[in-house]
Amino acid sequence: MLARASSRSPALAAGALALVLGTPVALATTERGRASATIVQGIVVTEAVPMSFAAVAPPPSGGAIVLSTAGTIKSSGGFAFRGTPAPGAFNARGLPHHPTSVSFSTGNLVTGPGPAMRLGAFTNNAAPNFDGTANLNFAVGATLVINPNQTPGQYSGTYAVIVNY
């Protein structure tokens, strides 16, 4: 009797021990990880100065004139220019230091009394990133194609400036 009772007692004790080691809570390891997100406002673009080719006297054959981002006009021979041309000037606000790209609409026309003139081959001097205060200021130049014997008068048109991240 004594032997039997003794032998059972350690077995039960061992059973209890196994139960303790199997308890899940004792071995769980918990860590807190970091999560983040940056919400960015959409870019807002504002035109500061409208693009202007000022006054142009083309030769009868017409031709292309190129307005640079510095505001100078270049052309083939026969053109005369009056007034002060101006490149387009824009301000965009976005995310500080974030890379950005500038693009333009295509198929733009400048219209007036005569046949429409094509405006394209846009250039710009935007930095590759918004600056530290979230600004991107840049000038826009373009090429205007004047038709032969273009009717004199006031011509105007629009173009789209697209600033993207």
Binding site: L2, R8, L21, T29, E31, G33, A35, S36, T38, I39
Partner: protein, 165 residues
């Protein structure tokens, strides 16, 4: 007599322990108990990469950014720019032991007084992860809920990862 008394006393003691363990076989004196104890190393959990939803532009309607464990973001009603990363973790434990990974149901990212909810946490350790060779590496993804016109800012928060045997 003395010997018998002692033996009875021990038998009763054994029965008492057995009842405490919830057994109804306390008086079956011929059973041999089986004891098993798996000694396992304490799990160490390390966050290698913070979860990041990257740069997101909100819209006029509420949306979501679903960050997969692969690090790709699937946006709905928001614009995702770049910069996202899934959370990446390494757990060390006893080789060949199965692991149980538990993630939060929902957490909050805050920026000043503004908040966003993160939920649907998931990992890529599979349905029956194992500490193969003593380590278990996995990624954590989740869903970010972006409010309509969510205020710009850098949002931070934490989430809990529990790894258990």
């Amino acid at each position: 007599m003395i010997a018998k008394m002692q033996s009875r006393s021990l038998a009763l003691a054994a029965a008492t322990i057995a009842v405490g363990l919830g057994s109804h076989q306390a008086l079956a004196t011929s059973q041999t108990g089986t004891a098993k104890a798996a000694i396992v190393a304490a799990i160490v959990l390390t966050e290698n990469t913070n979860m990041n939803f990257g740069f997101i532009i909100p819209s006029a309607s509420a949306g979501t950014a679903v960050l997969a464990t692969t690090g790709t973001v699937t946006p709905t009603s928001v614009t995702y720019l770049n910069g996202a990363a899934a959370g990446q973790w390494t757990a060390t434990g006893t080789a060949t032991q199965p692991a149980v990974i538990t993630l939060d149901a929902s957490d909050t990212l805050t920026s000043g007084g503004n908040t966003m909810t993160v939920d649907t946490f998931n990992h890529d350790a599979g349905g029956s992860p194992v500490f193969t060779l003593g380590t278990l590496s996995f990624h954590v993804g989740a869903t970010l809920h972006v409010g309509a016109n969510q205020a710009a800012g850098s949002y931070l928060g934490t989430y809990t990862v529990v790894v258990n045997y």
